[in-house]
């Protein structure tokens, strides 16, 4: 799982914020575009790209993109670092 690719995919869920505004440390809930719809599309992206089930609780407990990345990484079976 590639962190740069993950950030790019994460950023694609935000229609208006430029991709380069996102880093591992971005506190995504502070973005004006963040809504339950963005949360839904984040779950869909993680499901489609990594076959991992991200839950509403996972998102609730996360602040930064790194937090989400770590949760997804931990859920990927037999992952390659």
């Amino acid at each position: 799982m590639n962190v740069e690719q993950f950030i790019r995919r994460f950023a694609e869920q935000f229609d208006e914020t430029p991709t380069h505004d996102f880093t591992v440390d971005t506190r995504f809930k502070e973005n004006d575009e963040w809504s339950s719809m963005t949360a839904l599309s984040l779950i869909a992206m993680v499901d489609e790209s990594y076959s991992v089930r991200l839950t509403g609780d996972d998102i609730r407990q996360s602040s930064t993109i790194k937090d989400i990345y770590d949760i997804v990484s931990a859920k990927i079976p037999n992952q390659q670092a």
């Binding site: 963040w34 809504s35 719809m37 949360a39 839904l40 779950i43 991200l54 839950t55 998102i59």
Partner: protein, 333 residues
């Protein structure tokens, strides 16, 4: 004895809440953008003095008129709602009287949401197969609008009120096939109206904003949208696979898939995940929103108008949501 769907009709309340009205109510919120993603332009909302049973009665009367069905022939009423008129008596009993259905008819309510239509078909099929009833009036009716906090923009954008009536009989246009049903009460608190029934009778008027800025209170409808999305994403592909297996048909053998019309975003995700072609996937929600237990029969009614089924055509119907509860079946024309 086989059970068949013989006729379907539906009723929508007159009042509407369109995207322009929502934008006026919540000017800082990008309603248009969100509504476009979820595929809903307008929703019908029951009037203050219009209740789920009134709508169910209107849907049944429409069915009687539209398909020349006499209420005298109905020998069982199955009424699916989470908005009963009273704790007791059973709303289906009140409906029997108001519709002039014979006193010899059986009647019961059952409380399910988005999976309710599938369960209703399963119960009706059981009644026919056991020789208990021959002409079952399956009614679905919901007024979630009365549960939703006025400041809960998210849920107000998604849900619409509606009622449907389906006649299930010993003959009809489509045979009801085998069922796959499921339940997982672990998800109970993710879609809930917590207060106002017996366990928590007093409604707490204090409202709070949820994680996404929607105003809610334990006396109103609460939905953890992302969590529900995660649940369906896991449960529905398996539900479809198991239903196909049970009906001895493969995906290619299904001519049309009709899912609970949750919202377009969720359905598109499921469609791609299950790998169903867009032509075989019917959606109807722009004009009605997510109508809970009425969404499948409304879509079925519209699909029958739009894409008349050929002989031996097979359509898969699947419902999933509050409970969690899910179910699916295949109907054969």
């Amino acid at each position: 004895m086989n059970a068949y769907i013989k006729a379907i009709s539906y009723h929508l309340p007159q009042n509407q809440l369109d995207n322009a009205a929502l934008a006026a109510l919540f000017p800082e919120w990008g309603v248009e953008k969100i509504a476009q993603k979820i595929g809903i332009d307008t929703r019908h909302i029951a009037a203050a003095d219009e209740f789920a049973s009134d709508m169910a009665i209107a849907a049944a009367q429409k069915l009687f008129a539209e398909h020349s069905v006499s209420p005298a022939r109905i020998d069982f009423i199955l009424y699916c709602t989470q908005s009963p008129d009273y704790f007791l008596p059973t709303t289906a009993c009140i409906i029997q009287n108001k519709l002039g259905i014979p006193v010899k008819a059986g009647a019961l309510d059952f409380n399910l949401g988005c999976s309710g239509y599938i369960y209703g078909l399963a119960l009706a099929k059981g009644l026919v197969a056991a020789g208990i009833a021959k002409n079952i009036l399956l009614l679905t009716s919901e007024t979630y609008s009365k549960f939703i906090h006025p400041g809960d923009k998210g849920n107000r954008t998604i849900f619409g009120d509606a009622a449907t009536a389906t006649l299930i009989s010993t003959d009809g246009f489509a045979a009801i096939g085998e069922f796959e049903l499921g339940t997982d009460g672990e998800g109970a608190t993710n879609l809930m109206v917590k207060q106002g029934a017996i366990r928590y009778p007093d409604k707490n008027a204090d409202s709070v904003n949820d994680d996404y800025g929607n105003e809610q209170s334990p006396g109103h409808l609460y939905m953890d949208g992302p969590e529900i999305f995660a649940f369906t994403s896991k449960a529905v592909p398996r539900l479809v696979a198991d239903t196909l297996a049970k009906n001895n048909v493969d995906k290619a053998g299904i001519d049309l898939f009709i899912f609970h019309q949750a919202n377009r975003y969720m359905l598109e995700h499921l469609r791609k995940k299950i790998d169903i072609s867009a032509e075989k996937f019917f959606t109807y929600m722009a004009n009605v929103g997510n109508t809970v237990s009425s969404s499948i029969p409304i879509a079925l009614y519209e699909a029958l108008k739009e894409k008349p089924a050929g002989p031996e055509a097979k359509w898969l119907l699947a419902g999933f949501g509050v409970g969690y509860s899910w179910g699916a079946t295949v109907i054969t024309f």
